[in-house]
Amino acid sequence: MKPELLVSRVLGVPAQQLSDSTSNAQLGTWDSLAHITLVLEIESTYGVSVSVEEALGMTSVGAIKQVLAQRGVRW
């Protein structure tokens, strides 16, 4: 699944409005609780484990993709 689709599903924002630069500061629904849900969904969807520090840094769509790419995840 494309990371944009996952983010869109969790945050309730249309996928076409998301770009790599979309960050938590720009989206009202991307609050701290939604962030936890996002991290859990990413872990279960892509079968990866994200460290606490990485999870804190995943504050934009691009940052999420970067962490996934480091894990060798392709979408």
Partner: protein, 760 residues
């Protein structure tokens, strides 16, 4: 052989291969490289078309391959080439691929290296393979497939130290039973590493075999050389009492007593009162402590005793009640710890902690704790919410009052009308045990005031025959407030029962395995709660127990007789404790057996025993069900079955024998004994009963046979042990034994009370 080359005709240069396609490809690749065009795709196409040429090209390329293709591209190319070589069985090519891969080992995928190592035959293994595996392993130190392949390589070249190190890492990297089992068996192919040896005895009341490879792994990782002896299934108490048991043979460093509280206190499957649970629980504590003390008297080895942790939930729900199950189990564990810790070098393991807090377990959520101060793992949230809903439902008085139950494939497996009393699946082994468990849970609900009723499409006589006549039924007619066994629509029966019992339809829960019946009930009577049931009947119980609308969070009455009961039971157990002899232990067990010619209802179990028993099986002759049925009715044969019980409970039908009857001599065609009854002498009691019946019928001799199946070691020596004389000449593979009955026949063991069979 490829005939078309679509990727090529669409190359940006429009080059087409001329003459030798491989040579053409090489030119394409080279041209593409010169022009910095996407060479990765081209290289991949070339690899599929001409792996030999492409491998040669990759070898000639050296480090510049990385610049050209990128590391990912190199990795993928090597993977495609390896796949081509192996699929075509070209070993020379595979050697070349290994060479090329080694040159680019920094990029090669672990799976590629593992596939090459696993697929190439030992005699044609290229020299580059081992260094390739080692270098990729440096990058992917926890890759299971590669660790396994590298361990195989080390085993084959006899490098025991390296093999053990790799097996240690594999076991840690992939903690699955399959891998742990493979690791443990692979150890046998390497010489033992130099480490201090430790003997371990595992004695338990349940299946512990899957623990053995993990224990082997962890002890080795801790620097020890384990030799693990697994006791017989469920034989822990006898083994600890028997100084000749093989578990004592090893040089023991650690003993484990794994007696599960669900085995010791079967009432946990139902709804025992606090008093009953405390009494039965203390009896269980005494049994385990007695075993621990016997162990300590025989061996100075460290002793680990598993604490009590039940798989059965408290019917009140997950509550800390003063007299709830959690509180009582905590009391029992405390008593167990006090008594076990009083012994030197003995500990009690907290099983609840082990299962909750293991890595990835229900309580292991460090990440969420730090990220969000979440103290509860997401996986526990639905269950917590459900139990809170149960409390709310009870507080609002919305607890349902009546469970309307289907019969076929809901309360038992199969159809009463087709399978009959002897054929429905219901008993102490699966398939059938899951229905018994469900019935216990339903009975527990009935004990808390929920009415049980039946709505079943059946001939009434067929269904009642099972309810009244099946030995394993937990629920009997008297447990049901109303029965509607007929062919009418179930919603009509539901309405009738509600009227009869004076309750509203909105007080009913309808339980039926059939999705059609559930849909019909929902459509016709939406007031009746019809929960969705999983397809597997083994999950019915949990679904019903977790249903908030059935939560009866009753605060139980303090059982006034509790202390007296506790003291009386504890006192009786006290008398039995201490490191007594096996004989003493068996006498204390109070074994009672009942032997009889098999009644119709016992045929299925007898058939199952003959068919499944491997260990105590004299001749390993298996009989078809129809054959047993015919023999049971034939005066020239006798089929005997034996039921056993002791002070701890009823063990059911555990032994049977088929006997050929002739005027002067009876011959035991086969006799089997369930492994859960090994070691108590019940097989001797069965033989004694057969001898008695033979003598009564006027026979002068009892004969028997023994055939070594390679698996029936426990049955060897059976005839000699009972005074029989061997009469065959040793040829033919089957031993024949005989006993003259004028000498009194066979005596039942003095600790067994033998009933029945005389009338046979």
């Amino acid at each position: 052989m490829p005939t078309a080359t679509p990727p090529l005709s669409s190359t940006p240069h429009g080059l087409a291969p001329a003459g030798d396609p491989a040579a053409g490809l090489r030119r394409i690749v080279a041209a593409a490289a010169r022009h910095a065009q996407v060479p990765a795709q081209l290289a991949m196409a070339a690899a599929r078309l001409s792996p030999v040429e492409t491998t040669a090209w990759l070898l000639s390329l050296g480090p510049s391959a990385g610049e050209l293709l990128g590391d990912d591209g190199v990795a993928e190319l090597v993977d495609v080439l390896a796949g081509q070589a192996l699929a075509r069985g070209q070993l020379t090519l595979a050697e070349g691929v290994c060479e090329a891969a080694l040159r680019h080992a920094h990029a090669v995928l672990p799976d590629t290296a593992a596939t090459l190592a696993a697929a190439l035959p030992p005699e044609r293994r290229p020299a580059a393979l081992r260094p390739l595996c080692e270098r990729v392993l440096d990058r992917a130190p926890r890759h299971p497939a590669l660790l396994r392949a590298a361990a195989e390589l080390a085993l084959e070249r006899g490098d025991g130290a390296r093999a053990h190190a790799l097996l240690d890492r594999l076991g840690q990297a992939d903690p699955s039973p399959a891998t742990a089992g493979w690791v443990a068996s692979a150890r046998g192919r390497a010489p033992a590493p130099p480490a201090p040896p430790i003997g371990v005895a595992l004695l338990g009341s349940f299946t512990l075999n899957p623990l053995v490879p993990f224990l082997d792994l962890e002890l080795r990782a801790a620097g020890l050389l384990p030799s693990i002896t697994l006791g017989g299934y469920g034989a822990w108490e006898r083994e600890v009492a028997d100084e000749n048991d093989p578990v004592w043979a090893a040089d023991l460093g650690l003993g484990v007593i794994a007696a599960h509280v669900d085995d010791l206190v079967p009432a946990l499957a139902g709804d025992p009162t606090p008093g009953e649970l405390r009494a039965a629980g203390m009896e269980a504590v005494e049994r385990v402590v007695a075993a621990a003390e016997r162990f300590r008297a025989r061996s100075a080895a460290a002793l680990a005793v598993l604490g009590f942790h039940s798989a059965h939930p408290d019917p009140s729900g997950p509550l800390h009640s003063v007299d709830g199950r959690a509180a009582i189990l905590a009391e029992l564990n405390r008593a167990l710890a006090e008594r076990v810790e009083a012994l030197p070098d003995a500990w009690v393991v907290d099983l609840g902690e082990v299962t909750l807090r293991r890595a990835g377990g229900a309580a292991d959520e460090p990440k969420l704790r730090h990220l969000a101060r979440m103290r509860l793992p997401p996986a526990a949230l639905p269950a917590l919410a459900r139990s809170l809903a149960g409390i709310a439902v009870a507080a609002k008085g919305l607890t349902r009052k009546c469970l309307l139950l289907d019969l076929d494939d809901t309360l038992w497996g199969g159809l009463a009308g087709e399978d009959g009393v002897g054929g429905v699946r219901l008993g102490d082994t699966a398939p059938g045990s899951e229905f018994v468990e469900l019935q216990h849970a339903l009975k527990a609900l009935a004990g808390r005031g929920v009415l049980l009723a039946v709505a079943s499409k059946n001939n009434e006589d067929d269904a009642l025959a099972v309810i009244r006549g099946h030995g394993a039924m937990v629920l009997r007619e008297a447990d049901f407030a109303a029965l509607r066994i007929n062919w009418r629509p179930k919603h009509e029966n539901a309405a009738e029962i509600a009227a009869e019992l004076g309750i509203g339809l909105e007080s009913m829960v309808f339980v039926d395995n059939s999705p059609d019946e559930r849909a019909r009930m929902r459509a016709m009577l939406p007031q009746v709660l019809t929960p969705e049931l999983p397809a597997d009947p083994a999950l019915f119980r949990r679904t019903l127990q977790e249903l908030p609308q059935l939560r009866v969070a009753r605060v139980t009455d303090e059982d006034r007789a509790r202390t007296a009961l506790y003291r009386a039971r504890a006192g009786r157990m006290q008398a039995q404790r201490g490191a007594g002899s096996l004989d003493e232990y068996l006498r204390g067990l109070g074994v009672e057996v009942h032997v009889e010619p098999a009644p119709e209802a016992a045929l299925a179990r007898a058939h199952q025993l003959f068919a499944r028993t491997n260990q105590f099986n004299l001749t390993t002759r298996r009989y078809a069900h129809a054959e047993l049925q015919a023999r049971a009715a034939d005066p020239a044969w006798r089929l005997y079955v034996l039921r056993a019980r002791d002070r701890h409970g009823d063990h059911g039908l555990v032994s049977c024998a088929l006997v050929r009857v002739e005027e002067s001599a009876w011959t035991v065609d086969n006799l089997v004994l369930s492994c859960r009854a090994l070691g108590c002498g019940v097989e001797t009691a069965l033989l004694a009963a057969i001898g008695r019946a033979a003598r009564r019928a006027g026979a002068t001799h009892l004969r028997g046979e023994l055939a070594d199946s390679g698996k029936n070691a426990p049955a060897h020596g059976f005839w000699a042990r009972h005074g029989f004389t061997r009469v065959d000449d040793g040829s033919g593979g089957v031993e024949r034994w005989e006993l003259a009955l004028d000498g009194g026949g066979v005596a039942a063991p003095p600790w067994i009370c033998l009933e029945g069979a005389d009338e046979a």
